[in-house]
Symmetry: C2
Subunit: 209 residues, 2 copies
Amino acid sequence: MTEDDRQTEEKIFDAASIVFQEKGMDGARMQDIANRAGINKALLHYYFRTKDLLFEAVFQKVAGRLFAKFAPVLSEGLTLEDKLRFFYREHITFMKENPRLPAFILNEINRHPERIKKITRHIDFIKLWETIEKQHKEELEKYNITIDIVPQVMVSIAALSVFPFAARGIIEGIFESLGVDFDKYIEDRKEFAADFIMGALKNRQSTNK
Amino acid sequence: MTEDDRQTEEKIFDAASIVFQEKGMDGARMQDIANRAGINKALLHYYFRTKDLLFEAVFQKVAGRLFAKFAPVLSEGLTLEDKLRFFYREHITFMKENPRLPAFILNEINRHPERIKKITRHIDFIKLWETIEKQHKEELEKYNITIDIVPQVMVSIAALSVFPFAARGIIEGIFESLGVDFDKYIEDRKEFAADFIMGALKNRQSTNK
DNA sequence: GTCTATAGAAGGATAGAC
DNA sequence: GTCTATCCTTCTATAGAC
């Protein structure tokens, strides 16, 4: 299938994905999207009516893809540690391929928190926790992970993989003066993050009362 | 000193700080800034010439303030652990008072990485590391922190405090359905983050060869 | 220094031909 | 479905009075 054969709506959507991720809702220009899609502005409106609707379509799609990466935590037959290692490998690889995505999502969500609700409102987080609790009863006890620290642990796990990409502009600048290569750093991070979290959890064993 | 006594330039600057942090460079409107400062648009241009220059002034100032919070790591006479605890208390308290700051800075920097260079280019990160190395030789050996994993550890430390604020829109949404209070969570995080990092580091002792 | 009024450009959206 | 031409609003920036 050549570039020209692709359906117009799809071409517009792909172009919009790139431009919105790069410039954000406010910075994006319909003209830029039209140019990148190889069509004219009027067609954008023909297919998506307004900039808002086009943005909403793009946002729901790409944010959904990012969140879907958290799904493996529900698969059976893996230890907590293996799930964690699997998650970091998958999630970091995905963000490496979509480097603008984390900052884009964080930013647009902070300005319009209602957008994320559309994606998360169908997820029953309490049931999700109960599933994990059932699957990993012994490990949770061993690491002393009680319900009250679950939010702290979950956010910490997400932070270690998302933050390097969200803060890439700063980190890369500092790395330059240290002679550190960002891509190599990210590759190493898949394992480091898993080790780091497991280290923190294992250490809770000794403080276990 | 009443609101009216304050110098005009300062009023404009403060108003611009708020509006830019809330809407970003592209979303901010000069009219909004003028209204909030209680003056008219023309005066904005009289004092700062263009929107770009006004933005640049605001950005350099607020980003500088955030980075300054990393300074305590250089103070003498504290153990690594005490510095870490001190840092999280200070940094999280600061972000609690400026909740829009992290996402604002991350976003604008990713779109214009050159902006951060203006702030960081005068910092000699290599010398900074040498100072820490000298101050904490034994602790670094004990935790097996060699130069090659310093970037991983530093980013992880920053991630645990910055990410909850940068991703607040998402986190707060999920917390709502779990019945978790964000402010309480953040208060707890000051200690949790320090414990978590120390746990991960202490666990490196056992894997020490 | 501060204001009102307005120029001038940019960008989202639509009308209408094909 | 796709295009060109254009409308209309919004926004930055400036001119000029006080």
